[in-house]
Point group: C2
Chain length 195, copies 2
DNA sequence: GGTAGATATGTCAAGAGTGACATAGTAGAA
DNA sequence: TTCTACTATGTCACTCTTGACATATCTACC
C-alpha cells in the first residue's frame, strides 16, 4: 500500500471522516508532514475500500450535499498497527531553498539576503503558529501528553516535530541572510566603495 | 524548467562533469537535499542541451569507457542566477516517520521505542558525519567561509542546513523514544507486571 | 579465457503527485 | 434571479521519480 493510504488510515483511526473532511485534514496537523489533494484522496479511498481496509455509508444531509463517511475496518487497523513500527523506507529530503543556497555564490548578495530574510520570516511565522497550538494543547490536554497510548500524545508528537523543523529552518535562513549581509563587498566593488 | 535542471546547472556552474559524475554528486553534498538517479539525469541533460543551457564534448579515455563532459553555457548561467533569488514554490514536506508518529498510540510501546531509538541513532550518525566534514571545511577553507561570493561558502551553507536538520531530527526521535519508554504501562498490563 | 566490478550511457513502464476540468447541492447576498 | 462561496465527489492529462532492463568499455583477478 502507498504511504498516502496509511496517512488516510491514520486519520480514520481517530474518527470517521468523508473524503472531503480527509482532504481538509491534509492541510492541518498531519498535512504539515504529509499532504494530498482531493484528486488523490478519492481514488485512494476507493482502493482502500476495495482492499477491505475501510467501509463507507452515505450520510444524507439537509443543509449540504450528501456525503460518504468512511470508517476504518479491523483489518485496516491491524495493517496500520503493523506499518507504524516498521522502519521507514529512506526517502531523500528535497528542499528547493537549500538547492538555491548551493548556487547562492553566483547571485547578487542584496537579492539573496532579501530572499533568505523573507524565508526566515515565513518559517518564524509558522513556528509562532505551532507554538500557539502547543500552548493550547499543553493547557487543554495536560495529562494525556505523557500517555503514548492516546491519540492526543501522537498529535502532540507530530506538532513537536513541526516546531523543531521550523525553528531549525528559520535559524538556518537567518544565518545565511546574516552571512550574506555581513560580508564585505568583493574586491572589484570594494575599491570603488571603501573610504 | 524543472528543479532537477537547476540542480544540475548548479553543479555544472562549479565544474565540468559527465552524466555519471553528476549522478555521483547527487548522493553527496547537494544530494542530501536534492537527489536523482541516472535515469533522470541523462534525459534532463539532453533537455538542457536542447534548450541551450549546457554543451557537451566527448572525452576519450584510455583506462575507462569514453564519456560526455558537460559544460554550462552563458545562457545557462544567467538562467541559474535568476532562479537562485526567486522565492521557492512552497512544496509540502513529507516525512514518513512523522506520519508513523501520528498513529503511534495504536502500537506496541516497546516496538515503537525501538523504532524511534534506531532512527535517532541513524540521524546522530549522519550528524556526526556532517560535523566531520564541517570541521574539515573550517580548517581547510577557513577564510572563504565568510565570503558569500565563493562556491565554498555555498557548499558550507548547505552543509549547515544538513547539520541543523539532522540535529533536530535526532532530538525529536530521542524525545519520542524517551516519552514512550518513560510512560507507565496502561492499566490492563500494569496489574500483571508490577511487583 | 572467464568473470566480477567499476565506469559510462541510455530506455521504459509504473506509481506518486499536481492542476485543471467537471458536476452538483445548498446558503446567503446582491 | 443571479452570482458567489462552500460543501462534496469525481476524472484526466501531465510531470516527476523510481526501479528494472539494456548495453558497452576497461581493469583486475582467477
Amino acid at each position: 500500500m502507498a504511504t498516502l493510504g496509511y496517512a488516510i488510515l491514520g486519520l480514520l483511526a481517530q474518527e470517521m471522516l468523508s473524503g472531503y473532511d480527509l482532504t481538509q485534514r491534509m492541510r492541518g496537523r498531519v498535512g504539515n508532514f504529509w499532504s494530498a489533494r482531493h484528486s488523490q484522496v478519492y481514488p485512494e479511498l476507493a482502493r482502500l475500500e476495495e482492499g477491505g481496509y475501510v467501509t463507507h455509508r452515505v450520510v444524507e444531509q439537509q443543509e449540504r450535499p450528501d456525503k460518504k463517511v468512511y470508517e476504518i475496518t479491523a483489518e485496516g487497523l491491524d495493517t496500520l498497527k503493523e506499518w507504524v513500527v516498521q522502519p521507514p523506507s529512506p526517502k531523500p529530503t528535497r528542499e528547493e531553498l537549500v538547492l538555491k543556497a548551493y548556487s547562492i555564490w553566483l547571485s547578487d548578495p542584496a537579492k539573496a539576503a532579501r530572499l533568505f530574510r523573507n524565508e526566515q520570516r515565513r518559517h518564524e511565522e509558522q513556528l509562532a503558529s505551532y507554538e500557539e497550538t502547543r500552548a493550547w494543547m499543553e493547557g487543554e490536554w495536560g495529562e494525556d501528553l505523557a500517555r503514548p497510548e492516546t491519540s492526543r500524545f501522537a498529535s502532540y508528537a507530530t506538532l513537536r516535530r513541526g516546531i523543531i523543523y521550523e525553528r531549525g529552518y528559520a535559524e538556518w535562513c537567518r544565518w545565511v541572510a546574516d552571512s550574506v549581509e555581513r560580508a564585505p563587498e568583493p574586491a572589484g566593488e570594494r575599491e570603488e566603495k571603501s573610504q
